[in-house]
Amino acid sequence: MPGSDYWNKYLVQQKVTRRQALRGLGLVGGGVAALSLVGCSDDSGGGGGGSSATGPTGTTGSVNADSTKGKVGGTFVQQTSGFLSSIALVTGNAEGAASRTHSSLVAFAYGRKAPEGASGLSLQAEPDLAVALPEQAGELTYNFKLQPANFHNGKPVTSEDVKYSIERAAFDPKTVNARFFVPWLDKVTAPDAQTVTIQTKAPYVDVLNVLAVYLRVMSKEHEESGEAEKKLMGSGPFVFVETQPPAIMKFKRNPDYFRKPYPYFDEMTLLGPTDDAKQLADFASRQTHMTYWRNETERDRIKQARPDATLFQYPYSSMNFFMRADQDPWKDKRVRQAMSMAMDRKKFAQVTSNGEGDPDQALSWIFPDFGTRKPQDLGSSAKLFEYNPTEAKKLLSAANVTLPIQTDMWHWNSSVVGQAYVDGATFVQSQLAELGLVKFTDHETTHPQALQGWLVGEYSGTCFFIGDGGGFVYNTPAARVQNTFSAPDGKVTTPTDNRPHAVDARLTELSAAQAQTLDSAKRKSVFREMEEIIADNMWVINYTTQQRNFFLDPKVSDNAQIPLWAYGADGAYLKYWWFDA
């Protein structure tokens, strides 16, 4: 047969030697191995093959505004900021993880698009374990009725558990976080198994916010058994499975969750902090479904790699610059005002945020709920936000300051919040140096160093911060706003949140008042007065707004909305999400 003669001749004559054959097999084997490595990466999303449909960006597009009609299934993988180091809820800082496993009396309404949910910038509350938002018998009393619910071990949640949880968070000496947000708490009572009454010492505007974030309901039995050190156990939508801190934490769906039909995801995996390149690669390769916040440059890179992903964009308050107002030459407000007028905010935006962003002020205008204004609307202080180096020099001359001012600037290094922030600090230094106004000695610190230094008011000269909108960018803003500008008894004692060491009796009074004014219109007028005092005195110089960008895999339901507050690790809203087919 011609065929066999051909092969016979070829092999017999050793055109293909044994060695060659073995080499060939080796190559083929290597190719097969390579294919198995790259070809089998797991798509951990639920619901079938990848959809490449372009999803809506932000809050536009038609929406299935009914989260009760979701589909169960799939493993949701989320990139987080790094709260996975601890599962100790009260003595550690496991609030982020616990937002998946624990319930609270109330929760935030964001996470679903309107009309069902609230805006991604809103801190509107909704009932969670409570049947309804509290009945308030006066400004100091909050009554809650509990709905029937069980912990993950099957035991019922009672008002005693709620009382225990709040009291432990507020009064236990080993508590690390929550107690700083409940100085307003007087007592908690449990008149019956389904009723909880919270009594405050004075009116406090953020009671519901603090309940939602810091006062999660724990099982007294579980917490006192010692098991709490090994696992999180609550009554929330997801059950804790395991943790490999700080890299990974896993959860599974709670089929007995008291709020039916939620949740929908069968499993949830949270990924801890890792290299930026890895985070981007994971999302580009569809390993993760939700990113952590990204800046403008990263946003554009992700858009290029994943044009199908849904983008949620939010303004964020600006980076800012503090000066020790109790030290020369910063004591004179004209010097501080000059520093603001010597800053070209347009160029600042080009350096730090791709040219995007608008001028911002200390209490930030980005949250309409608080009624704060844009700098150009601040009356006579508006001019202080305009770039006017001539006027700046006049102010410095009137203040009799020797130029250039020699001072320090303290700030984080790039490992803390990224390079754009450090570029901002560098730009401020170079701009003021170019104008001949200030010569800075630069001090870069790690975060642990900052925690004992400039972040808590212990520094000389000036410092540069990533920005906090006067506390508005946190989901418990009242305390933060209060602490940032307060000087009780006319002095500032470190450690302090009052980084500029601002001492102003009226401002201190207003800082406390805003936390206790429950009437929203009156509270807004308090903020207005605060804005004007802060702007006129320029205790903190704000530059241009930044952006927080989050991406979501389009396989996740149309109704899903990543709120701004996702950067703060809260994940309770994930129970409303599902994977579309």
């Binding site: 790259v38 890299a247 990924l271 290299d275």
Partner: protein
């Protein structure tokens, strides 16, 4: 041989003791107060009262003199108790047990990679001395030596994602649970960490081979009519490997320290990320436990290297 092993093991004890003193003391020089870090990392900003800090310090035993803290810690270590994390209250020993598999796997795969790539490279280079393959391989080796492993790791993560939308599966799967998935997760870290080390191996193997190939016994072996393969792999390479094995032991320390960055880049929950997390949180017991782990591994790896000489060179007797 048994006596030698016992002697070497005994000699490691003072080494480890000195290391423990160094680690215990060095950790306390890191800037930052533990209680401030615990409180601040949870979102509390600024104003933390000293009373709260004092209470936390007492609860954690940090108010006692350093020598008392050290003695207490050392006593516990000798019973296998590395203490509890100051931050999350977990057993440090348990956490190390969970994580060491990841790090040891990366280190072993990196070593294997470096041997499988570096030694043949060195041999090929030596056999083709001053020819084109030699120049090419030496160029590659110098290039790999110059490139830091974290940069290689970043490229291995970024470029496939950009070009092919590919990334290894996230997380870590134990090799006994799912070997395929484990290899998918580990092969890129293996390359990232092994590349630089293989370059060092290649260069040393080359110079060692060149030296050995010029020896009289190699000429004798050829004169006796032995095949080239037998001369190179049975006679020459075995002798050339002695310095390579020494390098291998030294590079264990480099491998382990390299895992810190590689694990962070690839998001692997190993000893590297554990140590990094602990340093950032100023979690003394965790830092001490992790550094001790690395120290013990390096010490025993070098002991294994010393003992392996006897296998390679029959002239070496203990």
């Amino acid at each position: 041989m048994a006596k030698y092993i016992a002697t070497r093991l005994t000699l490691t004890l003072p080494t480890l003791l000195l290391l423990s003193i160094f680690v215990f003391g060095a950790v306390r020089i890191i800037p930052g107060d533990v209680c401030q870090l615990i409180l601040q990392t949870g979102g509390t900003q600024g104003a933390i009262d000293q009373e709260t800090c004092d209470r936390i310090n007492v609860a954690l035993g940090l108010d006692k003199p350093v020598t008392t803290q050290y003695a207490s810690w050392l006593g516990n270590v000798l019973t296998g108790d590395l203490g509890k994390s100051l931050f999350n209250k977990r057993d440090v020993a348990h956490d190390i047990q969970l994580r060491m598999a990841v790090t040891l796997e990366i280190a072993m795969l990196g070593s294997l990679f470096s041997l499988l790539i570096g030694v043949p490279m060195g041999v090929a280079s030596a056999l083709k001395q001053n020819k084109l393959p030699d120049h090419a391989l030496r160029f590659l080796a110098v290039g790999w030596l110059s490139i830091p492993s974290f940069w290689v790791g970043t490229l291995l993560v970024t470029l496939p994602a950009l070009w092919w939308h590919y990334a290894p599966p996230v997380g870590y799967t134990n090799i006994w649970d799912d070997p395929i998935r484990n290899i998918q997760q580990m092969y890129l870290p293996m390359i990232a960490i092994g590349l630089g080390i293989s370059a060092g191996m290649a260069r040393l193997t080359r110079s060692s081979m060149l030296e050995v190939l010029r020896e009289d016994y190699v000429r004798t072996a050829r004169a006796k009519g032995l095949g080239n393969t037998t001369v190179i792999y049975k006679h020459a390479l075995r002798n050339a490997l002695l310095p390579v094995v020494t390098l291998f032991g030294i590079q264990t320390a480099l491998l382990l320290s390299g895992t810190v960055v590689i694990e962070l880049i690839f998001g692997l929950p190993g000893m590297g990320t554990f140590l990094l997390d602990s340093v950032q949180l100023k979690d003394y017991p965790a830092i001490q436990g992790a550094v001790l782990f690395f120290a013990v591994v390096v010490v025993f790896a070098n002991l294994a290297v010393d003992l392996s000489y006897a296998l390679l060179d029959p002239r070496v007797q203990y």
